[in-house]
Amino acid sequence: MTVSNEAILAVIAEESGLDAAALRPDATFEQLDIGSLDVASTLFAIEDKFGVEIDPDQLNPASTISDFVDLVRQLLPS
């Protein structure tokens, strides 16, 4: 499955209620005011949508958007 960065960002935007344009790659979840429940909801939606399983311990409030996108991309079959 080919998944674009935009598709991953769209899920984060949907679950956090933020505009995709606001999701700067170097911004952390904390800086964007995306709380732990929203992060959990985002992980859930990504797993559902792309058929991957993400270990939540690999993310923390200091993780950046770019960290998150990279993590998802690593888990996707190439």
Partner: protein, 412 residues
Amino acid sequence: MRRKVVLTGYGCVSGLGVGLAATWRRMAAGKGAIRRLADEPATEAPARRIDGPAAWVDVDACRKALAAEDLRAMGQLDPLSLYALTAALEAVEAAGLRGHASLARRKAILVGCGSGGNATIDQAFERLYARKLGKVHPQTIPASMMSAPASHLAMLVGSHGPTFAISSACASSAHALGEAMHMIRAGRVDVALAGGSEACLTPGSWVAWNSVGVMADDTCRPFSRDRRGMVLGEGAAMVVLESEEHAKARGARVLGELAGYGSTSDAADMTAPDLNGIEAAIRMAHEDAGIAPEEPALVSTHGTGTRLNDPVEAAALEAVYGSALPRHTVIATKSAHGHLIGATAAMEFVIGMEALARGLAPPVLGYLGTDPQCDLPLALAPTPTPIDNGVLVSNSFAFGGLNAVLVGRRSA
């Protein structure tokens, strides 16, 4: 001397529409909201699997009504909360209380609710049991808990006072309004936002309700011969209550008074109504309001349209009002908006108070003719019946024998 509790704002959402104005237009035109989805264009919505008459809320219209609000911090919203927020926003804006300092502290929020967020629970369990998936949405619990609407309303209006849900099945929102009235009388708070919300039109809830054996397969025909049962609806209704001095001090427009409240428990049966408990609740509400049963009233019945409930309620009205019964006008608005379970009492109270203010009793729909066991002075004309009653008696009798009756008084 106890504090007088006045009403300064109403809001409601049901199959009849979003907002009191839309609701009243449909009520007055005798156009009920009960329909079958089989008659509608097919959609992919889960509600499509509900095969029977019901009264659905227009969810998109609720989202539109809330479009200007920042709801981001509230997380996932079950329809249960969406309906409550829509009704509450209307009530608070109608009361002129949006952003008012009174909302912050000495204010209570009480939301009646019978069964929590059914849609959220249905979706989660469908994943587990049907699709055999191991995980459910992380917001399943916060979105579906029965107190979610209460929390969401506190966030909407920025209220830090006592806030909680009240649950007594079909009487939940009558208890919410009545207990809110007592909180104001006792001086615990000056303002309360009280009412109820319910969103039970989901496949799981539908099947469960059908298995009780009380659902009509045609429509809701309260007190009519050949009635076949109740019809489920959904929605919310919220009321702003204030101490009279608080309302006067801020120059609020007073819409009426919540003058009395009676509440009893049958302690007898989980589904069958009990004449003694019902009669006692009606008498208690009159006594609390200081209004004699002989004073002409608009009586908004629980009127579910089930074979068992209606004759017991009719007998209770005959017992309380006796020879004065023909002076009253009896309505049964579930025939238009369906049974909103935890929200139904607040919905019926709001419609009843609006009826008093307008001097018009909305018609009972679906009536096929007299049942000798339910011979009441019903408002049966296809158009609203003119009334000049200053008093509303609004009945709610729940499964499990939990009864609550509210008495409202028209604004002078």
